[in-house]
Amino acid sequence: MSKQETRSPLPGIFYRKATPDSPPYKNDGDAVAAGDTIGLIEVMKSFHEVKAEVSGSAIRFVVDNEDAVMAGDVLAEIEG
């Protein structure tokens, strides 16, 4: 089984849901399609969606909700 890493395109704060009261975009183990939004990066109060680059049978997040990330950090792994 192949594993693809999804990396943060920007430095900032990573969010797994659209608003504090929303459900997460994806839960660990969810299937994903390329182009699905998997989280948000907040850079100086402006929000950018992070999209999956590949499709896969299961996603596993390696960064927690509201953690600080640098550009290039691995956010999640997607199993093919």
Binding site: L10, P11, G12, M44
Partner: protein, 461 residues
């Protein structure tokens, strides 16, 4: 003053500003910082610094427990919250006091009252301050709201009762749109602010934003005249002036007196700002809200009155009575502040963290640059984009604008894009020079004004 130390519960340029004011008063300064700010100027300048958590503000600058613990550990006697973060959090003010410390600002009860839009509007009305025609308080439901909107006449605004700083506001053009948007606005307010309460207000066309600086010690209350903050983008102030231009003296007196009346009616303690919309044609002003903290743009008031507002806040928190009487406060000349942000004005104001490779700051008697920058400083991506505030004084507005152009030409921040080019263009704009502006002026101007002056840039707006 009964306090000898103050903890700064903030970061960036305002933390530096507070430390300098506190040191000038002989106070010991304690700076709290997140993991992303260990290398900050505020940490370097403070007498002591305490790490309070990771980079995310929620886990550091918004962490009430960690901040109180830092204050107790360092035996701080007062806490200055700056602006943003916990500055208008009534629970924080209460927690600081409950821990036996002084909160540099009003009581939790005052923050709670004035922070609720509806309660604040009611307090303003009772104090005789004109309010914008609209629902007197929260609207009960969509039908009642629609009836009020029809009564006022479209366009109207739907505002979240718990919103602020330009957030939670929608402008509605007609009844059909109102019906569509109202339930969405309520759901969004509930999600964003934990309170779905809404109210409805008339939209004042071509309004100017004018605000009055107040100071109170619980017994005496003064105003330090007004600021003009009409140049805004997405409801965020970009450029501020003091005093407001073309404001008839009789209106100025009424406006400032109304702010003092409101401060007195709630027994205000500390520095605060009463914000108004000004309808220049009708010469009417209307209350918007009260900010129960120091504001970003406070330096323009300091430049024209000579009052150090941050020192005054610290003295009040230390138990001193106000050091100025109303008759001592006078306007001398004119001041303008430009907010320098880490944003690229040629790329839709995309925020851009990075390292400051080169920093050249203009100086002189009439120029002030409040900043946390130094050469080699890496601007973190986790907080707002404000890098500094260039503030210039002149005997007249004309002289002030001319000095501002010189100062902007002498300001160089290398390594990251900033809004300096925007301010250079604004300082040269004929409408800005005549003061022919209102709160929607800048967004329209940006569609053409900046691109026209960006000949040397390869990217158009």
């Amino acid at each position: 003053m009964t306090i000898r130390s103050v903890l700064v519960a903030n970061r960036g340029e305002i933390a530096v500003r507070i430390i300098r004011a506190a040191k000038a008063l002989g106070l010991r300064t304690i700076q709290v910082y997140s993991a992303a700010d260990a290398d900050s100027l505020a940490v370097r300048l403070a007498d002591e610094a305490v790490a309070i958590g990771p980079a995310a503000a929620k886990k550091s600058y918004l962490n009430i427990e960690a901040i109180i613990e830092a204050a107790q550990k360092t035996k701080a006697e007062a806490v200055h919250p700056g602006y943003g973060f916990l500055a208008e959090n009534a629970d924080f003010a209460d927690a600081v006091v409950a821990a036996g410390l002084r909160f540099v600002g009003p009581s939790g009860a005052s923050i709670r009252l004035l922070g609720d839009k509806v309660a604040a509007r009611e307090a303003a009305r009772k104090a005789g301050v004109p309010t914008v025609p609209g629902s007197d308080g929260r609207v009960a439901d969509a039908n009642a709201a629609a009836a009020i909107a029809r009564g006022i006449g479209f366009p109207v605004m739907i505002k979240a009762a718990a919103g602020g700083g330009g957030r939670g506001i929608r402008i509605i053009q007609d009844a059909a749109e109102f019906e569509r948007q109202f339930p969405q606005a309520s759901a969004e307010a509930a999600a964003a602010f934990g309170d779905g309460g809404l109210y409805v207000e008339k939209v004042i066309a071509k309004a100017r934003h004018i605000e009055v600086q107040i100071l109170g010690d619980g017994r005496n209350f003064v105003h330090c005249f007004e600021r003009e903050c009409s140049l805004q983008r997405r409801r965020q102030k970009v450029w501020e002036e003091a005093p407001a231009f073309r404001l008839p003296q009789a209106i100025r007196e009424k406006l400032c007196a109304s702010a003092v009346a409101l401060a007195r009616s709630v027994g205000y303690v500390g520095a605060g700002t009463v914000e108004y919309l000004y309808d220049e044609q009708a010469q009417d002003f209307y209350f918007i809200e009260v900010n129960t903290r120091i504001q970003v743009e406070h330096p323009v008031t300091e430049m024209i009155t000579g009052i150090d507002l941050v020192q005054e806040m610290l003295k009040i928190a230390g138990g001193d009575p106000l050091s100025v009487r109303q008759e001592d406060v006078a306007i001398a000349g004119h001041a303008i502040e430009c907010r320098i942000n880490a944003e690229d004005p040629f790329k839709d104001f995309q925020p851009w963290p990075g390292t400051v490779e080169r920093l050249v700051v203009p100086d002189g008697r009439h120029v002030r640059f409040d900043t946390m920058l130094f050469e080699g400083y890496a601007v973190p991506p986790f907080y707002d984009s404000l890098l500094g505030k260039l503030v210039v004084h002149g005997d007249t507005r004309e002289q002030c604008l001319s000095r501002l152009s010189d100062a902007l030409a002498g300001l160089e921040i290398g390594g990251i894009p900033t809004t300096v080019p925007l301010h250079r263009a604004l300082a040269a704009d004929p409408d800005v020079a005549t003061g022919n502006v209102h709160t929607r002026f800048l967004e329209k101007w940006l569609e053409t004004g900046l691109a026209a002056t960006s000949g040397e840039k390869e990217v158009a707006l």
